[in-house]
Amino acid sequence: MRRFVKRLYLALILLFLYAPIFVLMVYSFNVSKSRGNWGGFTFGWYAELFRDRQIMQALWNTIVLAVLSAVIATFLGTASAIGINAMKKLPKRVILGINNLPVLNPDIVTGVSLMILFIFAFNMIGRGGLGFTTILLAHITFNIPYVILSVLPKLKQLDKNMYEAALDLGATPAAAFFKVILPEITPAIVSGMILAFTLSIDDFIISFFTTGAGVSNLSIIIYSMARRGVNPKINALSTLIFAVVMILLYLVNRMDSEKLKH
């Protein structure tokens, strides 16, 4: 009896978590635009989704933004993690404290503060406006702290003698870094990059405040469509995104378990 209650409770919670997503999926195949009744099965909304230039452009923007911001943030973040790791206690604490600001600050505050900065700067130099560049700068800014938080612990764990051992065996500092340190911290760099990529794809609030006329990513498009009410194209989009997420999670899991086998 108790076991049954426990299972029922878990099932109800999972139902609560998944029901809305499944409703979206099911209705993405519904002919009728209104929710209540089932008008028959169709792929029409998907076709319409792919014909929507605006959405496709936003998708492209999202991917370019995520790739660019993740790569740049990974580069800057890894370099600075290496520098921070070499710092003494006090400067290290100060830098990490500032680094944590974008993580702890509400996204909306980060968003408006960057917007103020950009517009302030544009007013000062007398030209320019919010757009792709400003979103990109914003995404890099909120991504770097996560890369640092991912790479720094790994650097701390490294045997301090490892770098010296490489020098000792005749490697120049550059060779020692690329042949010994980099291979050691690569997993942390990769997971930092994936995290940055995901955060960039998922972000709405900061993009919303730092974008300008005509430049949207998927989140911004979804928001503006959702504000106008229910739209079956969003259902189709959700279904596709959910499918992509599931496939990615599956692949990552399989890679992990394969790594464990070896």
Binding site: E164, D168, L169, G170, A171, T172, P183
Partner: protein
């Protein structure tokens, strides 16, 4: 006459105003096995790291073959290091770890393969080429670390407490193996340890360090038999150290009695430290001893017994193959040769940091 290979000239090293090496001078001969021995924090590892090139001295010079190498970066020095925690590269397998230095020198792969195999044979790990280093035991990792350094044919091998993480039995075996290797290859070894027994077993020369200064340099026998001060006497082997007075040359007074000794030149009635090794005190019948006492405790140590004897207000540690029972009244006899007199002020502050 042995050839001087490394010269440390008046080396001082400070870390943020903390002086860890005070004006040290030391030379190391070619093919010598020199051990830097001392408690933790005495500056022995810093000395080694200066030779390797990881630290730059605040003052002083470092000569290699008579030429200053202070401004030579570590990767250009003809020395290699075996680190305390081995510092093997976890992303490389055994063979690639050993080949690291050779690949940096861009040697041909078939030469590398040959050399790696030779090294693995030398350290008794044939057939381990493809193993990941994480799968090896501590002792095996240690051997790989040694092989990785030796394959570069350094003129000097620096070893920083390389056996510290191994268990006692393995440590003893490796001590002998290392010594054999050094003699076979004819390479100069500079060895850092806090383990006096290790130092006595392996070294040609021991430099005892404490608080950033070298207290004594010499052959193991000399350091053991003629320690220069009470700290060294206590650190190298076990000792009874007792305060005394030099009545006159060749006559010391301690424990309420006068003893003939072989030391002179301390000045009349000067306060001194008297050091006597536990194996140098003989237990006799109560009537025949210079001191009379009672056995407090007896422990069997394998080769000998260790007795603690209360006499003249002092507990004496005595090693003997003959057992005396606790409670027994005995006499103690100390011959003139066994008494080592040391100047009092030579005893450094805060010593006896022996970790064990």
């Amino acid at each position: 006459m042995a050839k001087r290979l490394i010269d440390l000239v008046n080396v001082t090293k400070k870390f943020n105003d903390v002086t860890v090496l005070h004006n040290i001078s030391l030379y190391i001969n070619k093919n010598e096995f020199l051990t830097l021995l001392g408690p933790s924090g005495c500056g022995k590892t810093t000395t080694l790291r200066i030779i390797a090139g990881f630290e730059y001295p605040t003052k002083g010079d470092l000569l290699f073959d008579g030429e200053s190498i202070l401004n030579l970066p570590p990767y250009k020095r003809r020395v290699n290091t075996v680190f305390q925690r081995y510092a093997l590269f976890p992303h490389l397998n055994v063979a690639d770890n050993i080949a690291f230095g050779l690949r940096i020198k861009k040697m041909r792969e078939n030469v590398i393969k040959e050399k790696v195999e030779g090294m693995l044979k030398l350290v008794n790990l044939k057939g381990f080429e493809k193993r990941p280093v994480s799968s090896l035991s501590g002792g095996q990792q240690q051997r790989i670390a040694i092989a990785r350094a030796l394959v570069n044919e350094p003129e000097v091998l620096l070893l920083d407490e390389p056996l510290g993480a191994l268990d006692l039995k393995l440590r003893k075996e490796m001590q002998i193996e290392l010594k054999n290797m050094q003699q076979k290859l004819g390479i100069t070894f500079v060895y850092v340890t806090h383990d006096q027994e290790e130092a006595l077993t392996m070294s040609d020369t021991i430099a005892v360090m404490n608080n950033g200064v070298i207290g004594q340099i010499g052959a193991p026998e000399d350091i053991y038999n003629e320690p220069k001060n009470a700290f060294i006497a206590d650190f190298i082997g076990e000792s009874n150290i007792i305060e005394g007075i030099m009545r006159e040359d060749y006559l010391a007074e301690f424990a309420g009695a006068k003893f003939k000794c072989v030391d002179a030149g301390f000045g009349q009635m000067s306060g001194v430290d008297v050091v006597i090794r536990p194996e140098d005190i003989k237990i006799t019948n109560e009537s025949e001893g210079q001191l009379k006492g009672t056995v407090l405790n007896t422990t069997f140590k394998g080769v000998h017994y260790e007795m603690l004897v209360q006499a003249a207000g002092f507990v004496w540690k005595i090693h003997s193959t003959k057992m005396s029972k606790p409670g027994e009244n005995v006499g103690l006899f100390i011959g003139p040769d066994e008494i080592h007199i040391m100047k009092k002020d030579a005893k450094p502050e805060g010593e006896v940091l022996n970790e064990e």
